[in-house]
Amino acid sequence: MKIWIAKQKALIDFTLSSLARRKLKNLGLLLVYTLIVFLLASVMLFTHALRHEAAQVLKGTPEVIVQRMVAGRHDLIPPGYIEKLGRIRGVQHIEGRLWGYFYDPLVKANYTFMSPTAGNINEIQIAAREIVIGAAVARARGLAAGNLISFRSYTGKLFVFTVASVLPHDAELVSADLILLSEADYRAFFDIPVGFYTDIALSVANPQEVRNIAGKLAETLPDARLILREEVLRTYESIFNWREGIVLVLLSGSILAFAIFAWEKASGLSAEEKREIGILKAIGWETGDVLKMKFWEGALVSLTAFLLGYIAAYLHVFHFSTALFEPVLKGWSVLYPRFELVPVVDGFQVATLFFFTVFPYTVATIVPIWRAAITDPDAVMRG
C-alpha cells in the first residue's frame, strides 16, 4: 500500500510538471472548464435553494384554501360560508382571510395588502391608520418607521397611513411587497363589507385526509375552488424547473462548445506526446503506468475545475445573491425581494454534476493514450 501511494505520488508529481510545461494552454482550459462548472452549478444551486425555500415557506401555510367562484372568476366569500365548512369532519381550523393587490402608479408596482387579523402573521397587532410594510416597498417609496404615506383607493378616496414598522429583512422572500393593515382599514380601503372575506384558509387534522376533505368541501360548496398546498408546491417546482431549463438551454451552446474543445484537447494526441510515451516505455514504464499518469492528468484538471467552479458557484449563489442570473431565475417583478438564500446542497445534484463534468473529460484523456501506450518500446530505439 505504501509503495502504491508513493507510486501515485510520483506519477502525480510528474503529471504536474508535465502540465506546467504547457502552462498557458492548460490554464486556459482550466479557466473555461471552471467557468462552465460555475455556470451549471450556480443554476443548480440557486433553483434547488429556491425550491427548498418555497417548500419551507409553504410548510407553514394552510393545507387547503377555499375561493369562491362566480362566472369562473374569483369572488368574495359571502357571510355564512365559514359556518357551513365548520360542520365538515376533519377540519381543524378555519379562518377567513383578507388580502388583495394594489397597484401603485408612482413606482409602477403592485403591493399585496393584507389584514393580519385573519392571515398568517397573526402575532402582529396594527393600530388604526397604521401600516407595516415589506422591505421592498420601503425601498421603492423611500419609507421608514414613522413616515406618512397616502394611497388613493380604487373607490377614489385618499387614505393616509403612518408606517408603524418595516418587516425584517430575513422575511423578505415572502414579504417584499407586503403591506399589513388592520381589518377595519382593509375593509374601508377596498370597500369590503363586514362578514365578507377574500378567501378561506383551512387546516386539516390529518394531512393524509386532505384529498378526502377536499372532496367533501367540493360537494358542500359547489361554487368553490379548492387550492391544495401540495398543488401549490408542485406548481412552484414546475416553475423553478422551467426556469432552470431555460437557463440551461441558454447555456447549452457554450457547454457544447466547451465539450468539443475539451474533447479535442483531451483526445488529440500530438506527435510530441506520442514520442514522450515511447520514451517513457523505453526507460521502463509499463503501459499501465502511462495510462495512470494520463488518468491523473485528466483527473487533476477536471477535479480542480470542478472544485473551483463549484466553490465559486456556492459563493455566487449564497453570498452574492446569484447576481448573474437573478432576472431569469427570480422571475419578473418591479419589487425584487433582496434576500439571502439558506445554503442547501443536494448530494445527488453534486454527484450528477460531477459525473457529467469530471468523468467524460477523464475518459477522453485516457482513451486515445491507450493506442499510443501499447506500441512497442523499441520504436524509440528505431526512430
Binding site: 501511494i5 510545461r21 523505453a282 526507460i283 530505439m381 528505431r382
Partner: protein
C-alpha cells in the same frame, strides 16, 4: 551474463515489405566488460540492442539473462527486467523537453514508487557526479549537446542497473565530447557495470575502454566477435 542463441528478427512479417533485421545471431556478452557492436547503418545493431534490452522480442531464438530464458516473457515481466537490469542511453538522448534535468533523471524511477527524498538525493548525486549539479533545475532543451548526453547517462543510472546499453552514443558529439564520454565509460566500467554499445565511430571502437568489438553486417556476424 547475456546469451543469445540463433536470434532472428523480422519486421512486417508476412507482408510485402517483410524485412529480416537479424539472421541467426549467436552471441555471449560478458559481465563487467565493455562490448561494442560495430557495423554500417542497417546492419542490425539497434535491433540487437533492443532485443538484449528487453524492448523487443526476437521472432525466433532465445535470450538468456544470467541463465534465465527471458525471450518468451510477457510485457509486464520484460518491463520489470528492463527497468531493474538495464539502463539506456539513446542516440538522440530522448530527453523529455520542458522538464528539468533532475525530473528527466528521475523518470525511470517513478513507476517503482520508492522513497521520494531518497530518489531526489540520488538524482542530485548523479548530476553532481556528471558536473551538472548547477544545471539540475534547467529545462533540458537549454542544455548543450554534451550536457544533454550526461543527463541521459544519469537517467540510465538512476535505478542502478547492472547493464548499460548505449546506441551510437557519440554520433552527435564532437571529438572532445566523445573523449569525455569515453572517460565516463571508463569510470562506469570501474564500477563493475556491464556495458553494451553500438557504434561505427572509430574513436569508440578502437578505444582501449572497449574490451570486445562485435562486427555486424546485414543481420549476421560475418567474422564473429573480435
Amino acid at each position: 551474463m547475456i546469451k543469445l542463441t540463433n536470434i532472428r528478427k523480422a519486421y512486417n512479417q508476412g507482408q510485402h515489405n517483410e524485412f529480416w533485421a537479424l539472421n541467426g545471431i549467436d552471441l555471449e556478452i560478458e559481465a563487467q566488460k565493455v562490448t561494442a557492436l560495430s557495423g554500417p547503418s542497417g546492419s542490425g545493431k539497434s535491433t540487437l540492442l533492443s532485443i538484449v534490452g528487453c524492448m523487443a522480442r526476437p521472432t525466433s531464438g532465445r535470450v538468456q539473462l544470467a541463465g534465465r530464458d527471458i525471450s518468451g516473457l510477457p510485457e509486464r515481466f520484460l518491463t520489470d527486467i528492463r527497468r531493474s537490469t538495464f539502463g539506456f542511453i539513446f542516440q538522440q538522448y530522448n530527453l523529455i523537453k520542458g522538464l528539468s534535468a533532475r525530473d528527466n533523471v528521475m523518470l525511470p524511477a517513478y513507476p517503482l514508487g520508492g522513497d521520494w527524498r531518497a530518489l531526489h538525493e540520488r538524482a542530485d548525486l548523479l548530476l553532481d557526479t556528471f558536473k551538472l549539479g548547477h544545471r539540475r533545475n534547467a529545462p533540458v532543451e537549454w542544455l548543450s549537446g554534451g550536457e544533454q548526453q550526461r543527463v541521459a547517462i544519469a537517467r540510465a543510472l538512476i535505478n542502478d542497473p547492472q547493464v548499460l546499453i548505449a546506441d551510437e552514443p557519440t554520433a552527435n558529439l564532437d571529438t572532445a565530447l566523445s573523449r569525455e564520454f569515453l572517460s565516463i565509460l571508463e569510470s562506469l566500467k570501474q564500477q563493475c557495470k556491464t556495458i553494451l554499445l553500438s557504434s561505427h565511430d572509430p574513436l569508440v571502437v578502437e578505444s582501449s575502454v572497449v574490451d570486445r568489438v562485435v562486427r555486424l553486417r546485414d543481420g549476421h556476424l560475418p567474422g564473429g566477435a573480435e
